[in-house]
């Protein structure tokens, strides 16, 4: 789960990481009120969406007075902010964060990441802050430093010194940075974060460290034991259909094609999407109804797929594991009858009692196309769609 910059900064501040003073605003008036309550004569107005590259897209504005804050908030609130991470339609901005301007002497990058290969957390730092870190890694890998944590051990001071002296900080800044990195690790472990990133981490004109941005990715599997984090979820950041699917217990991702797919298991669902696309049709979605699919989940799957107006045909690919195919076939038939299915349906069932299952489908009186293999299923879908043109 991702959170907004302002939420990340508030959480980091709770763990002792210095961040600029600021406040959240949903209207231009609120933005001006927040700025009025801050000290200094420079303010930054920042769009709050879950995507990087906001500055380049016009979602971050530096203001010299309250009038400029008002204008900046007016232009950012309600805009469809397009960045390299949002897709071409961009994301609607509902909220801005208004903070005190910082006198920036240098910009660094620091992060706590899950190093999957080493099966532990690692801390990263780079003197090239304020840039796309993946680009830095590609073009100047020598400017990225990292240090892995030993499971069960703290992040030792020496590890921080290595990283921060490596970034060219002086002794006083290294002391501040060490505390900051240790705070980030403590936060990551306490709140089950698998990515904590500060980019940029500024060194001010006075030589102090302060987090100018914050990104945190939390482990979805640990949200139950972190109810305070679960509350930070912003439902407007998720496709409404995907949100509805999550509530139904389905793993659904909307795509831009016209073939709805319903599959049990994530890997098989991905492979089914591939087969559809390779057969010359386009998958409208990825939908995993769970390894142990049943009638109820299939019914819910239909509900979600058909909410997408682009769907012109549906392919169901179910591998009946422990659940028998005749039971699954009964589930497909009754779910299809209940929703009065209008689009062509191709069903591929495999597993225990497959012959009985296919018989139930064929004798249902519904216009199912039954396929025996994945390749045949995809070919039938492509043919069905071709026949409609």
């Amino acid at each position: 789960m991702n959170v907004h910059e302002y939420q990340a900064k508030e959480l980091m501040a709770q763990f002792g990481v210095p961040v600029p003073k600021g406040g959240l605003a949903q209207t231009t008036e609120e933005a001006v009120d927040v700025a009025r309550g801050l000290s200094g004569d420079v303010f930054v107005v920042k769009a709050q969406i879950h995507a990087g590259g906001r500055g380049k897209g016009g979602g971050v504005k530096v203001c010299r007075n309250l009038d400029e804050v008002k204008n900046a908030a007016a232009s950012i609130l309600g805009m469809h902010l397009v960045t390299h991470q949002t897709g071409p339609d961009g994301k609607l901005v509902h909220k801005v964060w208004v903070e005190e301007g910082t006198d920036i002497a240098r910009e660094l990058y620091v992060a706590v990441v899950l190093d999957r290969g080493a099966e532990r957390l690692a801390v990263m730092a780079s003197p090239s802050g304020g840039m796309d870190i993946e680009k830095v890694a590609e073009e100047t890998p020598e400017l990225i430093f990292f240090s892995r944590m030993e499971p069960g051990q703290p992040l030792w001071d020496f590890q921080c010194r290595q990283l921060l002296f490596g970034c060219g900080l002086d002794a006083g800044q290294v002391r501040q940075g060490t505390k900051m990195l240790q705070a980030l690790v403590t936060m990551a472990m306490a709140k089950d974060a698998t990515l904590v990133e500060i980019n940029p981490l500024a060194i001010t004109g006075e030589g102090n460290l302060i987090a100018l941005d914050g990104k945190i990715n939390f482990d979805d599997s640990a949200l139950r034991r972190n109810p305070d984090i679960a509350e930070l979820k912003d439902p407007t950041e998720t496709d409404p259909l995907e949100l509805q699917a999550t509530e139904l217990g389905l793993n659904y991702i909307r795509l831009d094609g016209n073939v709805g797919t319903m599959v049990n298991g994530a890997g098989l669902a991905m492979a089914t999407m591939d087969v559809v696309n390779m057969a010359g049709a386009r998958a409208a979605n990825f939908l995993d109804v769970g390894g142990g699919a049943n009638e109820e989940m299939i019914g819910k799957g239909f509900e979600i797929i058909l909410t997408d107006p682009n769907v012109q045909a549906i392919l169901i690919n179910i591998f009946g594991g422990i659940l028998r195919c005749d039971v699954l076939a009964g589930g497909v038939v009754s779910a299809a009858k209940k929703i009065d299915l209008k689009v062509p349906l191709v069903v591929r069932l495999e597993g225990t009692n497959v012959a009985e299952g296919r018989k139930i489908l064929e004798e249902s009186g519904l216009a199912f196309e039954v396929a025996a293999s994945m390749s045949e299923a995809a070919a039938k879908v492509a043919a069905v769609l071709g026949g409609q043109k």
Binding site: A118, S221, L268, M270, A271, A283, G291, E350, G351
Partner: protein, 289 residues
């Protein structure tokens, strides 16, 4: 022949008295697996499905000689259960539970590594040596004893491939679902090494998916010299770029996790790559016959 589990394997099921645990233990027993003990704290002394239940894994191991544990407990307790099994001295822990927090797995994996205990999973279908021993939630009947080894990151996708192999007349030596979580037990590389030395395995199938760099690492092992034919598939070839907010974690591993890169690495290593899943069984059959 097989790897890791066979007809002599003695299984303790952690969470035997739960609904899922009991259902699948029953299926395992019906398949012929030696389920010798169950563990549910507070239910020691009971008997379920004719299997004695103990309060601790340590007690179960002492009383029954169990050497593999199957973990079927809710996610919040699963890492603890895996550590308990490792501490009790089993050789292998198979973790079926899904949604285990990553931080828990980091600690549990380190605990297991220190004791030299192997793990399969978590979030996986388990391991099976057809005709001898099934430890997990796989539909047993799709398998057939034979000489093809199989390793997969995904559940139902594994069943699909096994079914295709069996339909093409190819039996399996051992099939392992390694799970798709960020932190897992045995991986492609370690299992390729076990299959390398198993005289009962003539060919190995690797079923991968997008994300991480497991496939690239497996390809490197094969490229360095592997004595048996290897077949590969990667799910997600046509998946649109993820909606992730970047992946700084991938910088350290140097991989972007894309299917195209994985397939290219596999092909360059001499692995026979199958792009359309429906063709997998036929491709393996054609090559081996």
């Amino acid at each position: 022949m097989s790897i890791l589990v066979n007809k002599d394997t003695r299984v303790v099921v952690q969470g035997l008295t739960g609904k899922e645990g009991m259902f699948h233990a029953e299926q395992m027993i019906a398949y012929g697996t030696n389920v010798v003990a169950g563990v549910t704290p507070g239910k020691g002394g009971q008997s379920v499905l004719g299997v004695p239940v103990f309060n601790t894994v340590s007690e179960a191991v002492k009383q029954t000689g169990a050497n593999v544990s199957l973990v079927f407990v809710p996610a919040a307790f699963a890492a603890d259960s895996a550590c308990e099994a490792a501490d009790a001295g089993v050789d292998l822990v198979v973790v079926i539970s899904e949604h285990i927090p990553v931080m828990d797995m980091i600690r549990a994996k380190a605990f297991l590594n220190e004791r030299g205990v192997k793990m399969v999973g978590p979030n996986c279908p388990g391991i099976i040596t057809p005709g001898e021993c099934k430890i997990g939630i796989q539909p047993g009947y799709i398998h057939k004893p034979g000489t093809v080894g199989l390793v997969s990151r995904s559940g139902t996708l594994t069943y699909e491939v096994v079914h295709q192999l069996t339909s093409a007349g190819l039996g399996q030596s051992t099939c392992i679902g390694i799970g798709g979580d960020p932190i897992i037990g045995l991986n492609f590389v370690q299992l390729l090494e076990l299959f390398r030395n198993d005289p009962g395995t003539e060919a190995v199938c690797l079923i991968g998916e997008i994300g991480g760099d497991a496939e690239e690492k497996a390809a490197a092992v094969v490229a360095a010299g592997y004595p048996k034919p290897v077949f590969g598939f990667v799910a997600g070839l046509t998946a649109p770029p993820g909606k992730r907010m970047g992946h700084a974690g991938a910088i350290i591993s140097g991989s972007k996790g894309r299917a195209q890169d994985k397939l290219a690495a596999m092909e360059a290593a001499g692995i026979t790559v199958v792009r359309a899943l429906g063709e997998f069984g036929a491709t393996v059959a054609k090559t081996l016959k």
